[in-house]
């Protein structure tokens, strides 16, 4: 191969190979692990992305640098993607009426009007008596 301008590449002494492509084996680049990062003590671990690795110990050392080299982080989890279970997006209508369930929300309980009406009534009763 013509000498590379990159001295690192030139030192590799690559013999240029015009014939075909090297075959790449199945799962040669590993399987995927999902990475969860905890930015500070007290916070949740949050999904940050995926690494390919052969096993959890490799996944951890890879995840640290791919997902922890810029953001501040105190802890990380890795989980094999095969161990993650989820709902289907097609069934997201199961979640649709959630905002309507005000019986579970603080905003679903308004007592001010009732209190004011009651106090008005009591005050009126006192006035009527006297």
């Amino acid at each position: 191969m013509e000498k590379s301008l990159d001295p690192r590449i030139a030192r590799l002494n690559i013999q240029r190979n015009e014939e075909g492509t090297p075959p790449i084996g199945k799962h040669e680049y590993g399987v995927s692990y999902e990475v969860f990062v905890q930015s500070k003590r007290g916070k949740q671990h949050v999904h940050a992305g995926t690494v390919h690795a052969s096993d959890p110990s490799m996944a951890l050392i890879f995840a640290k640098e791919q997902f922890g080299r810029r953001q501040h982080c105190v802890n990380m989890w890795v989980v094999a993607t095969t161990e993650i279970f989820s709902f289907q997006y097609a069934d997201s209508d199961m979640f649709e009426t959630v905002p309507e369930k005000i019986h579970r929300e603080p905003g679903g309980y308004k007592v001010r009007d009732k209190i004011d009406a009651y106090r008005k009534k009591i005050a009126q009763q006192k006035t009527d008596k006297s």
């Binding site: 590449i9 002494n13 590993g30 390919h52 490799m58 890879f62 640098e65 791919q66």
Partner: protein, 250 residues
């Protein structure tokens, strides 16, 4: 404080970190697995960063030239790096074995330096040690895997180990101020460091299905400025742009 002793110690640490970090950076963009390429590049930056911090401390406390001048403009025999770090390799097994030997030595060295009587160095050591903890974890994970996985990976790792070990012993080449460093509490000395290093790596080597060679002949010379054939071309390359225009700032 014995200034000459402290300066000598820090200079060899800085030179080790710079030359080693430089060799690691040769893999950025061409690593064997994408995720590993990324991890190795972080280790490379950490090392170069440690060198930079050490040269900065040398300038502040000992009036040496600025870090860029120290790192990029000295003559070959002025560098005090150990020969292990100088070697060029295109063999990832050698790169990993060197990483294993070097980072265990550095981890113990910086751990010991946290108790140094030289306060500024002790502070630096506390900071740096955390980064090297990851380097050691990375190295251990890899050699345990490759040492035991396949016949080929095992024999490559063993061959690399056999080649690197005598030079790894050269990391602990005693300097001219060993006794002064010990007496003044700056550092516990290379002999003690080597003993702790051997204790630490022996079980890990065994766990990795590998064997340390029985010979204990150390390949030395780096600490007194006598280097392998690989250093001069490295320095020439590293300083190529800097030398192309000495008046310039980049």
């Amino acid at each position: 404080m014995n200034k000459e002793a402290a300066k000598e110690l820090m200079l060899k640490m800085a030179d080790d970190a710079l030359i080693y970090g430089h060799r690691l950076s040769e893999w950025t963009g061409i690593g064997p697995i994408l995720e590993e390429d990324i991890a190795f590049s972080s280790i490379s930056q950490d090392k170069v960063g440690h060198a930079w911090q050490l040269y900065q401390l040398l300038e502040v406390d000992f009036g040496t030239p600025n870090p860029d001048q120290m790192g990029f403009e000295r003559k070959e025999n002025e560098y005090k790096c150990s020969r292990l770090n100088e070697f060029y390799t295109r063999d990832y097994a050698f790169a990993l074995i060197r990483h294993f030997f070097m980072d265990h030595a550095e981890f113990i060295r910086y751990s010991l330096l946290r108790a140094s009587s030289y306060e500024a160095l002790a502070q630096l050591a506390k900071k740096v040690r955390g980064e090297i903890k990851y380097h050691v974890l990375h190295a251990d994970t890899w050699i345990k895997k490759l040492g035991t996985a396949t016949e080929e990976s095992h024999s490559r790792m063993q061959a690399a180990l056999n080649e690197a070990f005598p030079y790894a012993l050269g990391i602990f080449e005693p300097g001219p101020f060993e006794q002064e460093l010990i007496d003044s509490g700056i550092f516990i000395g290379e002999e003690q460091l080597r003993a702790e290093w051997l204790d630490e790596i022996r079980p890990l080597i065994e766990e990795s299905g590998l064997q340390l060679p029985s010979t204990t002949n150390a390949e030395m010379g780096g600490r007194s400025g006598y280097h392998s054939d690989d250093l001069a071309p490295l320095l020439e390359e590293m300083s190529e742009v800097v030398r192309s225009d000495p008046e310039a700032s980049w």
